[in-house]
Each structure stands twice: as C-alpha cells, then as structure tokens.
C-alpha cells in the first residue's frame, strides 16, 4: 500500500496504547531497568524510553526469544508423544519504539528462518506482530545504517514509522495494512500538511563505506590468515556481539527433562570455540581469528549471496557491547581499504 501520512500527538499515542491494551495485545517497547534500556513489556507510553540512541539488546527477542520451547514430549512404555506449541496461543504484539535499523533487521531474520523449510514458530510470531518504529533524531559514533542501505528515517520493515517533528508531535507514516489496523478508529489523527519536512528532524549520518565493495574484498581476503589474526587478536571469543545483534540467528537445540520434557531452542554464537567442534574432535574453525572472519563473512558475503540481504543493519550494538572494543564499523572499513 502507499504510505499514508498523518500527524499524531502524544495524547493520541497514549490512546493507541490503551486501545492495544484493551484488545489484549502485548506491547514491547524500550524501557529503563537499572542502568540499561531494553525491550520489555509496557502498558503505557509513559513507561517507554525514546531518548536513547539504541537499546542494549535488539528487538529480535520478540520473534526469536533467547530460550523458546519448540515442543514438549512425554515418553511412556517406549512410546513418545509429542505436543506441539499452540501457534494460536502466541501473543499478538505491538513492537513500539524500535529504530529503523531494528525494523530493517526483520528482513534478514525472515530470510534465515524461511530459507528452506519455513520456521513456523518464527513466522507465526512475525505474522502476529506490528512494528512501530521511531526515527532517529541523533546517531552516535557506532551507528552506520546509511552504509548498509538503511537510514535514520527509513520505513523498511516497519508497519508505521513515527518521526518527532516537535515536542510530543509526530509525523506518522502508515506503510502497511498492519499499521492501518494498529491505528484503527482512533480519533485525533490529522492529515499531514505538505510543509512538514521529515528530513529536518532526522540524524545526519554520512555513509562510512561503500557496501558493494565489502563482499569482493572479503573474498579476496579470505585466505589471508595474518590479516584475520591481526584483526581479532584482542577478541575474547564471547557471544556478546551475537547476542545483542538484531540479525544473528544461530541457535542450539537442547532437550530438558529426561523422559518427559521440552525441546528448547537457545541462542548460540559462531564466536564460541565449541560452535563448530565436531564429535570426532575436529574443529574446522579452531582459532578465534577464523571465528571472527566467519562473523564478518556471514553478514557481508554469505547472506547477500544466498539470501540477497545483508546480515548487518548498522545498529552498532555489537561495537557498543564488546568488552574489548571490537568495532565492526572500523573492521569493515579496514576490509574495504585493505590493499589487494
């Protein structure tokens, strides 16, 4: 559908929140907890924090929780009975206050989870979710959405995008049927006058590298062990980068409960030494430099090649979360600038 532009005030947004509440829709939004701001269940707009550049964790938990039951099982007298999750019991969700980079990340997640055999739990969650993003008025040194095809006011992946045009006043771009449904019959939405200049309210962020250069440079550098060793010497091999990443989708399967229990899907990371360790004892990626290379290859070469989508949206979370300052923007730049 063609984007529908409205003006909406904070009081109308509050009405929307109570409307969603009354429909039994859960609302996930950035919320301050201790010293960190992350997505959490909220009931009112007042609980939502929108001043931060970014939440620590991404919004992927809304469709790919860090632990998720795939099915439960009981075993009796040698017979195993499997009980599937009830897809209808998955909650209808409004994801409110994500940044445009996070909204764009759902395309990458979707590409992975529907690649060959579609993951129906993921798809059911996606289907039941409405994404309402808020444009970025400022960026920090870790942001690079404009280098990977996004932008501080990009609508890709959102059902509605809000841009603050004045104190408590938002330009609402309704870009999908879901966005239209989320607004419903709420009164107080005004037509957007022609003189509203969205661009003026967005962060200015110059592209930092040419993204078409990354995959060819990676292909050239693949066998340059010294290059990767140098890039990753200080990497500790933890999973902080992968776990805060909005597109990292690797998971591990764990059964819990012995004879009767659950099969769980848990986050995993290619940065861990055990990630590729075979039962035989052989590990095709035995050193951290190969694992760091894999992280970049997967995002900037394999995903574009296999799924026609970049595995990075430039949110900068991995760089902010890294305990040892592995800055992905800096690394990708050095890859594009490496002498052949």
């Amino acid at each position: 559908m063609e984007s529908d532009k409205k003006l909406i005030g904070r009081s109308e947004l509050e009405k929307l929140f109570s409307q969603w509440q009354s429909q039994g829709t859960r609302i996930l939004a950035p919320k301050k907890n201790n010293d960190t701001i992350d997505f959490a269940l909220v009931t009112t707009l007042a609980e939502v924090s929108l001043d931060q550049v970014q939440t620590v964790q991404s919004a992927k938990t809304s469709v790919f929780p860090r632990v998720e039951e795939l099915f439960s099982f009981t075993s009796r007298d040698g017979r195993v009975v499997i009980r599937e999750r009830d897809r209808n019991a998955l909650p209808a969700t409004v994801l409110f206050g994500v940044r445009p980079c996070d909204a764009a990340a759902f395309a990458a997640l979707k590409a992975i989870f529907t690649w060959d055999s579609p993951d129906d739990l993921f798809s059911a969650r996606m289907e039941k979710m409405t994404v309402i993003a808020v444009s970025c008025a400022r960026a920090d040194a870790y942001c690079f959405c404009t280098s990977v095809g996004g932008g501080p006011g990009a609508t890709a992946g959102s059902d509605m995008l809000l841009t603050e045009t004045g104190p408590g006043e938002y330009l609402a771009e309704i870009v999908s049927e879901k966005g239209l449904m989320a607004v419903g019959e709420t009164s107080g939405l005004r037509p957007c006058p022609a003189n509203v200049n969205k661009e003026a309210h967005l962060a200015k962020l110059e592209p930092a590298f040419a993204r078409e250069k990354v995959a060819p440079a990676l292909a050239r550098l693949f066998d340059d062990a010294a290059f990767w060793a140098e890039q990753s010497l200080r990497c500790l091999g933890c999973g902080a980068c992968a776990y805060v990443c909005p597109t990292c989708a690797c998971f591990d399967i764990q059964d819990e409960g012995g004879g009767s229990g659950q099969r769980l899907r848990c986050w995993d990371s290619c940065g861990f030494g055990l990630f590729t360790l075979h039962t035989s004892g052989h590990n095709p990626r035995p050193v951290q430099s190969q694992r760091w290379r894999q992280r970049l290859m997967h995002k900037f070469a394999y995903m574009p090649e296999r799924q026609q989508v970049l595995g990075c949206v430039g949110c900068g979370r991995c760089s902010r979360a890294c305990p040892v300052d592995m800055n992905i923007l800096e690394h990708v730049r050095s890859i594009t600038e490496a002498k052949p």
Binding site: N33, N34, D35, T36, I37, D38, Q52, V53, Q54, T55, V56, Q57, R66, V67, D140, A141, Y142, A229, S232, L233, R234, L236, G237, C238, G239, A240, A242, Y243, V244, D252, Q254, E256, L264, C266, W267, S269, F272, L274, V287, Q288, S289, S319, R320, A321, P323, V324, D325, N327, E330
Partner: protein, 277 residues
C-alpha cells in the same frame, strides 16, 4: 607515558620480548546506551618498535590485560611484556600459582594511577611489588557488601533473581576473566550436563553461581566480569563477597605469591574439620 613507550621500545629493540601487550586509544566515544563503566582504551599488541608510541595509560585503561596471557594466538607471538595494573599483577601471580605462566613467559610493566612504570622482570619482583600495594577490598566495596549483607535471605534471593533474569549466557564475563581459562568450561560438559545450557532462570542461576564458586579464593577483584557484562549484572559483588569470606575463614588472599595453595582446592591431612576425612 613517555617512559612506558621508551621501555617498550628498548625491550622490543633488544629482543627481550617479542610483543608488548598494552593499551592504545579505542573507539573513543563512551557508549551512550550504557551508563556503567565502559573503557575507552583497548588492548594493543605492539611488536614493532615504531608503534610503541601509541601506548597509553590513563584512567580509561581498566581492562585486565593478563587475560591475553592465556590466549593461544597471543602466546604464539612470543615472550610478552604486559602493561599491568595492580589487579593484573596479582592475576599473573595467581596464574603462576596455578602453573599457567612461568618466569620466562613474561615481564610486567607495572603501572599505577600516578603514571609511574616499574619494570618487573621476574615473578619474585612482581611478588615484592604486589606486597607493597594495598590489596584489600576498598572501604567503598566493603560498605556495598555490607549493604547487601543487611538484606534478609528472601530479599537477597529476589535481588539476584532479578539480576540473573537479564543474563543472556553470552559468556562475556568468562571471556573477560583471566582466571576463567579452562579449555573446556563446566558449562560445556554435556555428559553429564552439569549446568543447563538455556538462558532460563535455572540455567542462569547455576551458571553464575558456579562461576562465582569456581573463582572463590582465586579472583583478584579486577572487575572485568562486571565491565564486560552487556546487560550490567553486578557480578563483582559475588566475587567480592567470596573474597571477604575466604579472607575471614582462611586468612588467604589470591594473587599474592607465585607459589601458593588455593584456599578452596587444598586438602590438608590435619584439617580440623572431620567431615572431609
């Protein structure tokens, strides 16, 4: 600062060491979404005399660089000189006591808040240097522990349940910890599975408690676990509590000597407790 770079140059030029593990300028901007301490310096591995000038030491240099002594890629660089904060010096001694480093592996460039550098060429020299430092918990740290000690059991349980509920099991705490060097961590043993893998309540509780207990009597209170945690869990509180317990019960401090028995993993036949016999 100049002194540090000069010492590094001399050590590299003379071939005394092959690499200087120190601090250089990091990305430069404090993260805006995190309010807990984020270092702005980053680890650098200087192997070229011409690059020694990029070494820095200031208040932002907090990472315990001794973590890199256990990293195979870094070990392969050859003998190292390590820019070492007091906590890193104690880590070196603790690693030596656990037979993980020995005298010929490294030199320490001991640095302090005043910008002074001391070249410590042997473990004995590190021991003498550390002995002259104040190695006790700081008054502020003790006061914070007392605050939690004043809570009743239920309140403490609630506090940690809430904290651990945010744990992602990303293992940044383990990665950042120089004393978490097991090539196969207990959490990765699955025959049998000691610690549940999923980051659910039980998995998170068991993981964090297991890690704290494994560090009891060994942790040198560098604080890197808390600094590394992306979701801001105050893991240092667990370690500091155990440091004070081990000190009170065994009169033992970790990282004071290159040859030492660890309070929690040493058995003496004349142990006055009879449950152990």
């Amino acid at each position: 600062m100049e002194t540090l770079a000069n010492i590094a140059r001399e050590l590299l030029a003379a071939g005394t060491v092959q690499t200087v593990i120190g601090y250089g300028h990091g990305s430069g901007e404090a993260a805006l979404t995190r309010t807990h301490t984020q270092t702005q310096a980053r680890a650098v591995f200087i192997r070229d005399v011409a690059k020694a000038g990029s070494l820095i030491f200031d208040a932002s240099c907090q990472q315990n660089l001794a973590v890199y002594l256990m990293k195979p890629e870094v070990r392969r660089l050859g003998k190292a000189a390590l820019v070492a904060t007091p906590a890193a010096l104690r880590t070196i001694l603790q690693l030596a006591a656990e037979n993980q480093v020995s005298d010929h592996d490294l030199l320490a460039l001991a640095v302090n808040g005043q910008g002074e550098v001391a070249l410590l060429a042997t473990l004995a020299a590190i021991e003498a240097h550390v002995a002259a430092l104040d190695n006790d918990l700081k008054p502020g740290e003790i006061a914070e522990l007392q605050k939690y000690a004043a809570l009743d059991l239920e309140q403490r349980r609630q506090f940690w349940e809430e904290q651990f509920s945010r744990c992602l099991k990303c293992y940044a705490c383990r990665g950042a910890c120089p004393l978490c060097y097991c090539s196969r961590c207990t959490v990765e043993c699955n025959q049998p599975q000691w610690i549940p893998v999923p980051a659910h309540d039980l998995g998170n509780l068991e993981w964090n408690v297991m890690r704290a207990m494994h560090l009891a009597g060994r942790c040198v209170n560098c604080g890197d676990c808390s600094r590394a945690c992306p979701v801001g869990i105050p893991l240092h509180l667990l370690n500091q509590k155990l440091i004070s317990e081990v000190l009170d019960n065994f009169d033992s401090r970790s990282g004071m000597a290159a040859k030492a028995d660890n309070a929690m993993s040493t058995f003496k036949p004349d142990d006055p407790e009879d449950f152990i016999r």
